[in-house]
Assembly symmetry: C2
Homo-oligomer: 113 residues x 2
DNA sequence: ACTATATTTGTCAAATACTGACAAGTCTAA
DNA sequence: TTAGACTTGTCAGTATTTGACAAATATAGT
């Protein structure tokens, strides 16, 4: 388990035997900034997840899970929020998906009047 | 269940019989902007959670749970991220807390050399 | 229909946060 | 001690968020 996503990247990088400069190049990222990310002083930008996955041949969905779980844990921890929020969040995601399905059905009907 | 936190505020406001202007005043918030929040067109600012809790006499921890669960659900939904992230996040929160405890112990020892 | 109030929507400048870039520092191994 | 790796600090440019206000629309009472 890593303290933050940057630490996870560092692990990957070390396992892969890359330098900061090498990995930075693959991610379009200054090595200095990558260093900060690895040390938790900057956040890794969501938009580079796909690149990261492809550099290390990772499954994007798993990587997302890693990234967002980190993001969420940090948020809850920093705000001293109960992990009950996670349970509630799960229900809400279901609810949002369900609404979306309903909306699609409505649009379908509408477009076929 | 509400689609977003703003909708939840709207419920509270209606139950309390306030107008947007009235509630806005209590929250230091322009009524127009509060309207946008209620309709999901702006985000409610975290820093006003305490005020919100006090206006409606709500338990702050419960309100935080509501707020952050919404925040998290939105994040996962928008990024099409698996809810597995929630399980992982729970472990991570535990881990972060545990690290913090260890750190405190270290500091304690240090300060008492 | 008219008026007053409530709500919604659009816009904009100011404040804030984020990002890329680079310089300068420390660390490490040959 | 020198080269490459890594860390840290800083800063201007960019993007995002926020507060504020005007104007449009909606709603309810008369």
């Amino acid at each position: 388990m890593t303290k933050h996503f940057g630490e996870y990247i560092k692990q990957l990088r070390n396992e892969g035997g890359f330098t900061l400069t090498q990995l930075g190049a693959k991610l379009d990222l200054d090595s200095a900034n990558l260093s900060k990310i690895e040390n938790g002083k900057r956040d890794f930008d969501e938009k580079r997840l796909l690149q990261l996955a492809s550099v290390f041949n990772l499954d994007l969905d798993r990587l997302k899970t890693e990234f967002f779980s980190d993001f969420i844990a940090k948020k809850l921890y920093q705000n001293e929020c109960s992990t009950d929020a996670l349970i509630v969040a799960e229900e809400k995601v279901k609810y949002l998906k369900q609404i979306n399905v309903k909306q699609e059905k409505l649009n379908f009907t509408k477009n076929n009047d």
